[in-house]
């Protein structure tokens, strides 16, 4: 079996004491920083990236993977405890997780998130190991037209699963694509939409948009609500571990989440985010057992499903990165940066030219997941103590950490002004009921889509039919159209609206 030999090669690399140590250090640091409200995986990785420069490439990537998982789990923790998603993929965890915390069941919520993630991570790693080689084969057949079609499919997937108005979500995606184009055009060297500001020629920072829109925008709209709307924890903390009934409820949700997450994680643009949203929608559609807590009021399935899905998605979202070389999300974009610093060009050739690195990374993902659960289950009690901190003390701290995080990515004041501007824009989005998550996705994919569209049309001499005459690209686009049609069918449309109606 190839799979076994490959995996054993990987574990051979990852199980050296020094690499285990790096994986552990990564998980620990990632959790510690990721648990700070307002600082998600992207900011965490960006902050810790310089610490890995001096390491050998394999160790550096292993540590970064550890940081990623740690930060992601830390992000779920803040989502559950203080209703502040550290990243877009834990947005849905907030809905039921925070309600569980308010009812004194923060412990089971955190445990469900941790165990669900671990299970999903194991499955995701196996899928990654099994599917990466054949997909790499496929990747060599991918031309620019296929890449473009794939991204269109990813974006359509994001729209379909966004809550609220479809049209508005499309609008937000296009807005994101446009914002992504700000900065120097790689082909002509023209600085677009930069108003002669030197900082803007590098483009708008992803972290700036994420922190401004999700961090500041959320704080402002939180503060606008009357105080008793948010910080009442109605019950005492009862029990840290899930009960038997909890396990019974969450097990199928974890399975469904894992399956959905693994499948959706492969799509570029979606990854963990798409997976979490889809899993939550799916859980909501499942039949309720008698006596079960309704969704939006602290149903454990609403935590276990999306959390497993986003971890499985996080795992499988390495597939497009490692096989096609396109980062499916912001975190992966940072991983690309880290790889290039170590002179590794991500893409289909990594597996053949650098098998130790490729399989070592995959093995270390599993190790990272295992360490995470060892590290975090005993710490649940400590995280819960955070609950006793009133919002009054929390939000100035969040503002501070956002500002520090943004500044530290470039050591430049400019980013602080920008995050302020995006804070105002974020609040505007909330007031207008326009969801910011699709914007972020578009923002990441904007430059890549343009690049591939350009190349595709250059190769076809300006003939747009190249997208439908090439079989691979045509089938990808067809899948996208199919998705859209399904969502627009009246029956599904009503169901979908039902699924996203809050509480």
């Amino acid at each position: 079996m190839d799979l076994i030999t490959n995996l054993s090669l990987g574990f051979g690399v990852a199980f050296t004491p020094i690499n285990l140590l790096y994986a552990f250090a990564g998980c620990l640091l990632g959790t510690l920083i990721g648990v700070l409200p307002g600082i998600g995986p992207v900011a965490t990785i960006a902050m810790l990236l310089p610490a890995t420069y001096a390491l050998p490439p394999v160790s550096a990537l292993i540590m970064l993977a550890g940081i990623y998982y740690g930060a992601q789990y830390g992000g779920s923790t803040t989502a559950i405890l203080v209703n502040l998603p550290g990243e877009s993929s834990s947005v849905v965890t907030c809905i039921d997780g925070y309600q569980m915390a308010r009812k004194g069941r923060a412990g089971p919520a955190l445990a469900a998130a941790g165990m669900g993630s671990f299970f999903a991570g194991c499955v995701g790693t196996l899928i990654l190991a099994a599917f990466a080689p054949p997909l790499t084969e496929l990747a060599f057949k991918f031309g620019p037209a296929e890449y473009f079609a794939l991204m269109v499919l990813g974006l359509i997937g994001a729209v379909v699963l966004a809550s609220g108005s479809l049209l508005k979500a499309v609008g937000m995606i296009v807005l994101g694509l446009l914002l992504g184009l700000v900065g120097t055009d790689v082909n002509s060297g023209v600085a677009r939409f930069s108003f002669d500001i030197p900082e803007l020629t590098d483009g708008i920072g992803f972290i700036v948009i994420a922190m401004g829109v999700f961090g500041y925008g959320e704080i402002i709209s939180n503060l606008a609500r009357p105080a008793d709307d948010r910080e009442v924890f109605t019950a005492k903390v009862t029990g840290l571990m899930p009960t038997k009934q909890d396990f019974k409820d969450m097990a199928p949700a974890v399975l469904r989440g894992t399956f959905l997450g693994s499948a959706l994680g492969i799509l570029p643009g979606g990854g963990a985010l798409l997976a979490a949203f889809a899993a939550y929608a799916l859980e909501k559609k499942m039949k309720m057992k008698p006596g079960e807590v309704p969704f939006g009021q602290g149903n454990i399935r609403g935590v276990a499903g999306p959390e497993s899905a986003n971890n499985a998605g996080a795992q499988t979202s390495f597939i497009p990165l490692l096989t096609l070389g396109i980062p499916p999300n912001a975190v992966m974009a940072l991983m690309v940066g880290a790889m290039t610093i170590h002179n590794i060009q991500p893409g289909p050739q990594v597996m053949t030219s650098n098998p130790e690195l490729f399989w070592g990374l995959i093995a270390s993902m599993w190790i990272g997941n295992a360490m995470l659960i060892i590290l975090n289950l005993p710490l649940i009690g400590i995280w819960i103590k955070l609950l006793t901190v009133p919002y009054r003390y929390l939000f100035p701290a969040i503002v501070l950490f956002c500002a520090i995080g943004v500044y530290s990515t470039n050591n430049n004041n400019w980013d602080i002004w920008m995050v302020g501007i995006f804070g105002v824009i974020g609040y505007l989005f909330i007031k207008l009921g326009a969801e910011p998550a699709p914007l972020l996705l578009g923002f990441i994919l904007g430059p890549m889509m343009e690049e591939n569209l350009r190349r595709a049309l250059l190769l076809s001499r300006g003939d747009w039919s190249t997208f439908v005459t090439r079989p691979l690209s045509a089938s990808l686009l067809a899948a996208g159209v199919l998705l859209l049609v399904i969502v627009l069918l009246p029956a599904v449309k009503n169901k979908r609206e039902e699924a996203f109606v809050e509480d």
């Binding site: 049209l167 704080i219 501070l400 500002a403 002004w417």
Partner: protein
Amino acid sequence: MNIKSQRDFFSGLMFMCVGGAFAWGATTYNIGTGARMGPGYFPLMLGVLLAFIGAVITFKALVVETVGGDKIGKWAWRPLFFIIAANVVFGVLLAGVPALKIPAFGLIVGIYAVTFIASMAEPGWTFKKTFILATVLAVGSYLAFVVALKLQFPVWPSFITG
């Protein structure tokens, strides 16, 4: 004409304006042809698309009936002002603004300023509690970001450290 959904109406307007602005901006760059795209081609396409989407949303907001008019509601000016102000003041104090001859006051001063200004976003803040919070944050941030992570910040005012 009645606006049926205020939120959608203004989102649509926003998309139209931004899309139009991007499209107009794109025309100042070389557009090129499909086979040889200039830097303006893709933004022009997207800008027009966004403006069109905005127009459809606005139109629907005028036609399709919604429950309660989907009002935008009151703007929370107080938190909006203080949160953003706290952020800007932090930036000014942390690294200074050479163009305005403002020296860098460093991380610690910045933290006290952020905490106080941000706390004012909510009515009922008290000086003593805010001061304690700021001190905790200052010590914690110093240990976490400067000592442990070794991030490069100006920590103390530049006119003291020189």
